[in-house]
Structure formats: C-alpha cells, structure tokens
C-alpha cells in the first residue's frame, strides 16, 4: 500500500553513525582562513557603527563604533582560538561542546557585519537586526517544534506548511468573528490539529505513507485556504478577516536588559508561548514520562508495544499536539505579526521549518537555533541591502538558503533521525 517503501525524511540511512570526526575541525580551519584573508587581508578603511539602543529603551546606550581592520584582527584571533580548541578537543576525543560553534559563529558574524558595513553611511541597529531575525524565526520555530515532536514519535511531518497555513487562516477568521484573540489562538491550534488528525489518521490507521500524506496535505490546505480566501474572506473582509492584534507586553526587569532585553522581552504573548514551548518540549522530551514514551515509540515501536504502551494512540495524540503547536505559528502570522490573512501567507515557512528540524537533529533547542539562524540570515540580507551592499538583490535573497546548505553540508552532515520515523507500525 505504500509507494515509498524506503525510509525517507525521518530515518536517514546511516551505514556509519555520526561521522563528524575531523570534518568539523576542517571546517573551522577553512572558515578561519577565509576570515583571515577577507577580514584582515581585504580590510576596508573606516569604521562600522552599530546602534545598541531602541528608541524606547530605559537606558540609552551609545553607538558602538568598531574600526574595520582592528575588529577583523580580533575576530580572526577568536576564530583561530576556536579552531585550536576544536583541534585539541578532537585530539582528546572529547565531545565538541555546543558553545564552541556558537562562539565561533558569533565571532564570524560580527566580523562579517563589521566588514560589510565599514565605511557605510548608516549604522546598523543591532536590536533591530536581532529583533527582525526573531520575528522571521517565530513561525519557523513553532513549525519546527511541531516537526520535532511528530518525527520523534515516528511520524514524518512534511505537512508543517499546511498546519501553519491552516492555523493562520482559522486564527484570523475566528478572531475576527469573535473579536477574541484567545479564541482565535485556540482556533488556530485546533486547525493545526485537524490537519494533524488527517495526517495521523491516514498514516497510523490506514498506514498510508507518511510522506504522501504530508505532501498532499500541503496542497490540500493551500487549495482550500486560497479557495475560501477568494470566495469567502475577500468579499467580507471586514467581518471575516479583520482580527484584533496581540500587542507586545514588556516583561518588567528583563526587558530593560541592554540590547537583548527589548528584543526578547518586549514581545507578544505568542512569542512568550514560544519560549515556553521550546523549554517545555525540551524538558518534556528528555525528562518526563511523556517524552520517554514518545521517544520510545519513535525509536522502537515494537519495544514500546511490548511494555504496554499503545503505539497508535501515542502517535495519534502527539502528532495532533504537534499540529496544535504548528497552528500557533500560523496564528503568529495573522494575529501577532500582521492582523489579517492573505493568500499563501506562510509562503514556504513550513518547508524551512522542516529543514530546521533535520538541521537541528530532531532536538528542539538545536532546531530552534537552526530556525533562528535562518531568520538571522534573512534579516541580515535585508539590513545589508539597506545599509548599502554591492551585491545584487537576487543574490542577497539567496543568502539564507545558501547559508543553510553550507551549514547542513559542512557542519551537520549525516544525521540520524528517530529510527522508526516514516514507518507505519504494524502489530506483530
């Protein structure tokens, strides 16, 4: 009954396990060399200016002015230090801690930003750069969380795009009708869940290949929302497509932290829900009974079955939960970001979220970081474009996608997903 007898998205065939070994070290080396050549060798005269404050900050921070060449040298030194650390850790067969690539990446980004904006007239507002990255990443993060849960329980979730879109549409319509944001939010979750129900029902009950269902659901939801948008929403947009909007809430103390405070803690409820979601899913997956059972079902359904865990039920409810979470991401688009639904408003975010799931190795925190990286690259291209960049816009628009490919090919490489993801469980 299944067309795709092979494992596709979820279970990556891994003749060998994680083969990170020396490759990562090489990447450090190569990137460091590039940084050295570009940032120091081709240093541009002048300074780069970074704004740290937002207009409404409590404490107004001064602009940071970085001299092009000196910053390049410092960044190169940090990069070299990171490379050396990586080599040493590798030598001693130690695990590479997560902070190392983060420090390395941050250093390189600072270097790149400085280099690219040295001598430009404009200063780069850092909070804006980071805040925009977060804004672009929010739907991706929700989608990725849904993806992680779904795939961890053994159901490949290609339908994230459909879940986001259904959430966006339903959230907008219901919030418009009821004038209640909370009801809209719940409706978005329900809509995402409904899409998941279909995925779960077909994948679990009817054993249809999960990738088929996912792909088809995306088409179905896009077709349906387009159809209803044109025929129902547009003629009655005042009643059906003018939802209220979540307004940002500043968290007292935290939002006063320089630079990061306003970025992270002057946000809407949905974003706070997202923080909670990342933490809850992470703790839940790895520290609770729920997570243990969920992962067991995704890794070895038969083993779970033999200890009395209902594989179908666990999959069904968790896939539904995943849909609800993705639905929240859709609601962000139409209730928090821009309060109205427009056709195909997700425009591919679900696919990027899927990439983030895999890129993040099915780990909620890493997937979140992957989504943030993508958001950052998207926003960076825009900011660079504004500040004045010699690169044609088409190439800037490619930037986030190229960055993702490089990251996946270079740093992540062969990743192993939940062993049973994509495979229907047949008892016996």
């Amino acid at each position: 009954m299944t067309t795709l007898e092979t494992s596709t998205t979820g279970a990556v065939v891994g003749a060998a396990g994680p083969r990170r070994s020396w490759r990562v070290v090489w990447i450090y080396g190569v990137l460091t060399a590039i940084a050295l050549v570009v940032l120091v060798g081709f240093a541009r005269p002048g300074v780069a200016r970074f704004g740290l404050a937002t207009g409404s900050d409590f404490v107004q921070l001064p602009e940071v002015v970085l001299p092009g060449l000196a910053t390049g040298i410092v960044v190169a030194l940090v990069a070299i230090a990171c490379t050396v650390a990586a080599v040493l850790l590798r030598r001693r067969d130690r695990h590479q801690p997560l902070w190392l690539p983060v420090v390395f990446a941050v250093a390189l980004v600072v270097g790149l930003l400085t280099w690219a904006t040295t001598g430009a007239g404009q200063s780069v507002p850092l909070p804006g750069l980071l805040g925009g990255s977060l804004a672009l990443a929010v739907p991706l993060i929700f989608g990725a969380l849904g993806g992680v849960i779904s795939e961890r329980v053994g159901v490949v979730n290609v339908a994230i795009e459909g879940q986001l879109l259904a959430g966006a549409f339903t959230g907008a319509v219901v919030a418009s009708l009821t004038r209640s944001l909370i009801v809209g939010l719940v409706a978005a979750m329900v809509a995402g869940m409904l899409v998941s129900f279909v995925l779960a029902a077909f994948a679990i009950k009817y054993l249809v290949d999960q990738v088929i269902v996912g792909v088809v659901l995306n088409v179905l939801v896009l077709g349906l929302t387009n159809f209803l948008y044109t025929l129902v929403l547009v003629p009655a947009s005042a009643t059906l497509n003018s939802p209220p909007q979540f307004s940002p809430i500043a968290i007292p103390v935290l939002s006063a932290i320089p630079v990061l405070g306003p970025v992270l803690f002057r946000q809407t409820v949905i974003v706070y829900l997202m923080y909670l979601g990342v933490v809850a899913v992470t703790i839940g997956l790895f520290r609770t009974k729920w997570g243990l059972r969920l992962r067991a079902v995704g890794e070895h359904p038969q083993a779970a079955d033999t200890v009395g865990i209902s594989v179908g039920g666990t999959r069904f409810w968790n896939v539904s939960l995943a849909g609800a979470i993705a639905g929240l991401g859709g609601a962000y688009l139409t209730l928090a970001s821009v309060p109205s639904f427009t056709r195909d408003v997700t425009s591919g975010a679900g696919f990027i979220a899927l990439a983030a799931v895999i890129f993040g190795q099915w780990n909620p925190v890493k997937a979140t970081l992957a989504a943030l990286l993508f958001g950052f690259a998207s926003n960076l291209q825009n900011v660079l474009g504004i500040v004045g960049s010699p690169v044609p816009p088409d190439f800037l628009l490619m930037l986030p996608y190229v960055v993702t490919i490089f990251a996946v090919a270079g740093l992540v490489g062969q990743v192993r997903g939940p062993a049973a993801a994509g495979r229907p469980y047949i008892k016996g």
Binding site: V216, F227, Y401, I405, A409
Partner: protein, 414 residues
C-alpha cells in the same frame, strides 16, 4: 522410550507451500499490460470510488460558495426545491464543464473536434509525467527529491537559452535545446546528490533550498542580457526560435513532447525493471547496507539517482519553454509542476506507468479546470483540492471501503 508421540498428524500446509496465497510475481510482464491488469483487478473499483468521493467533496465546496445556491438557501424552508436545483445546477454545470473542457466535448461537431480537449490535456499532462517520473525514480532509490521546481527552472532556462540564442539549424536546434534542458535539470539535481554522497547532507533540506536559489538565480539572469529579451525591460526571455519549438503533431494541439514523454515512460520502465543501473538503484533504495555489502557503490548510486531524476525533471522544464510558453518565459514557468510532480509520483506509486496515468489524470483535471472556471466561475483551487483528495483516498483503500461499506477483501491481515 522417552518420546511420546501424540499420534496426531499435523494438518497444516506443506512446508514448501507459501501460506500467503499471494499473486505470483511476473517481473517480466509488459508495463501496459500490467497496468491494465491492475486496473481490472479489485483495486480499480476502489480507485474509481476514491475519485467519486473526492469529486463529491469538491461538489460541496462548489455548492456552498455558489451565489445562486446561497440565494436559494436563504428561503430553503419555503421552497427547498430551489436550493436543490440550484445545487444541481451549480455542481452539474461545473463538472459538466470539467468533463467538456478536460476530456471530451460531446457538443462539438465531429470526433476530431470532440476530443480536442483531451488532446489539450495531454499537453498539460506531459510535463507532469516527465517530472513525476523523475521524482519516482528518486523515490525508488530512497531519495526524496523536493527540488523539482528548481530543476525545472534551471533545465528550462538552459533549454530556453539554447532555444533562442544559439544559431543552430533545423531539428538540431530542438535537439540541442532539449538535451540542454535535460542536462540543466541533471546538474541542479546533482548538487544534492553529490552533497549527500560526500557529506551526508539531507537531500530534503538541500533540494528545498535549491528551489529558492534557482528561482533567484533565474530572476537575476532574466534581468540581465543573458536571458532577458533584447530591447525589453521586463524579466521575460526572448521567444524560443521557431525551429527549437516542439512541433505540433498533425495540426492537433498535441506537440512532439507527448510522444517523447511516452518514450520517457518506456525508458523509465526499462531503467527500473530491466537495467542493471535500475536494479542497483532499487537495491540501494530498499536496503542500502545490503547493497553496499553486495559491492554496489551506494554513494555513486545516490548521485546517479539524483542525476537521472534531474534529467527527467529537466525534460519537464525544457517542455515548458519549448512547448508550452514558447514566446519567452519568466520566473514562473515551472507552474507548480515541481510540487505537483511529487503528488503525481505518489499517486502513480512510483511506477512508470502508474505515473503516466496519474499525470494524465492530473492533466485532464487541470485543463478541465480552466473551462470550469471560465464557464462556471468556479475557482481553480477546487481542482487542486480534488486532486489532493484523490491521492489521499486512493492511498487509503480501507477508508474508501468504510465510506461505501464495502466488505474487506478476503485474506486481509488481521
């Protein structure tokens, strides 16, 4: 004697007998015959019913958004007959147009005129089949190629560029453009293949990203003299030179692309069922470690599968610019085929002739949809809703059986 016989003789099957009563496999059976047999077997009924259910759901969408129906339902309790007849009018009209526009127009004079719609549908089916074959070959090798869009864009752009810029004579021009398209698709598909083989990068991520990159790359070149029509300032290419256009056959709406895609189906069937390469691809797709142990170079097969997949998808791209939008293309000439091809491949169960029929069905729906929209003001999105429902229902026979309360087939697993 310590062994106590119970004296009962086991009544089970002979050891050599397979209990499963499966149909004997006939690997050598000819493709078209096998398809025919599959259609005539029990699952054909289910497929028809799946289409019926999907059309019914589509009909509900059409009816509830139809102005006449909405109007009549306003006084439903006074005159329910009006609502019913409005529904029948709306749905009957829409599906009548779908049939008339996609398959056969019985109101047309003469056989030739009557099947014009079908012939036009073949034109829409052609790229879907070609790209669907490419995706299916990827599936069979265990690779999920979501990059159809990018491969079509690059393949088509190369074909188009050859088609309008190279001064080649006669048929050579067409051949060169076609080959260029195939190579362009292959090249773009080779990237995820090589990255997967070399670094293990997941093809799903890479192909998604390459779709976007191809789009912006094409956009860039459409704004430069490389692709932009001379003297124009719109990002639209120059028209394909007449001798690089796929010629119409016998004055019908069908062009050479369709016979070529039939050849592609045969080639794919041959590749998968009859060739050494296909055998190895399938082996890698089914069990990569066993293939490796048997001396098959898994990495090379990964690259080969992606390249071949890209060749087929590239044909769809070439077809788009040499047969469909021959008067110059923009960034949108992929027309969603890259994604629809996934659905087509899935509906066709990744088998070449299955893909062929699935592509044909989608082509008919697409073409009929235009007439439905023009004649009955039914939004085109209904078609994609119905198409996706068909795939879902066909994939889940038990559901269709449950809907129609059909008995489960004998010997179904517990």
């Amino acid at each position: 004697m310590p062994v106590a016989e119970t004296g009962r003789e086991p009544q089970g099957l002979e050891p050599g007998q397979d209990p499963q009563q499966q149909r004997p496999e006939r690997p050598a059976e000819h493709g078209a015959r096998r398809v025919l047999r599959e259609i005539l077997s029990g699952s054909a009924l289910l497929s028809v019913l799946a289409v019926v259910v999907s059309l019914v759901i589509g009909a509900i969408l059409i009816a509830v958004t139809n102005p006449a129906v909405i109007q009549a339902s306003g006084y439903f309790f006074a005159r329910p007959g009006d609502t019913v007849s409005a529904v029948l009018n709306a749905v009957g009209g829409a599906y009548g147009s779908l049939f008339r526009g996609g398959l056969i127009d019985f109101s047309a004079v003469g056989f030739w005129a009557g099947i014009q719609p079908l012939l036009r549908s073949l034109g829409f089916a052609t790229p879907l089949i070609a790209a669907g074959l490419g995706i299916a070959i990827g599936f069979r090798a265990g690779l999920f190629n979501i990059g159809g869009q990018g491969q079509i864009l690059i393949g088509g752009a190369v074909a188009g560029w050859i088609g309008f810029s190279l001064p080649l004579p006669g048929p050579l021009h067409l051949i060169a453009a076609l080959v260029g398209g195939l190579l362009g698709g292959a090249l773009w598909a080779a990237i995820p293949g090589v990255l997967k083989a070399r670094t293990g990068a997941h093809e799903v991520i890479v192909t998604i990203m390459l779709n976007y990159i191809a789009f912006y790359l094409l956009d860039y070149f459409l704004n430069t003299p490389v692709l932009q029509a001379p003297g124009s300032n719109t990002p639209v290419s120059a028209p394909t030179a007449p001798d690089a256009v796929l010629p119409q056959l016998f004055g019908s709406p069908v062009n050479l692309g369709f016979p070529l895609v039939v050849l592609l189906v045969l080639a794919a069937a041959y590749l998968l069922d009859r060739s050494s390469l296909g055998f190895k691809l399938r082996a890698v797709g089914e069990n990569a470690s066993a293939a490796r142990t048997a001396g098959i170079d898994v990495k090379r097969m990964t690259i080969a599968a992606m390249v071949i997949s890209g060749v087929f998808v590239g044909f769809a791209g070439a077809y788009q610019v040499l047969g469909q939008t021959t008067s110059g293309f923009s960034t949108a000439f992929d027309a969603g085929i890259g994604f629809n091809a996934i659905t087509v491949a899935l509906l066709g169960r990744s088998k070449p002739w299955g893909v062929f029929w699935a592509g044909l069905l989608f082509g008919v729906f697409q073409n009929g949809g235009y007439t439905m929209q023009a004649a009955n003001a039914v939004d085109l999105n209904v078609v994609s809703v119905v198409q996706s429902l068909i795939v879902l229902f066909i994939a889940a026979p038990p559901l269709v059986r449950a809907i129609f309360r059909l008995p489960a087939p004998k010997g179904a697993r517990a």
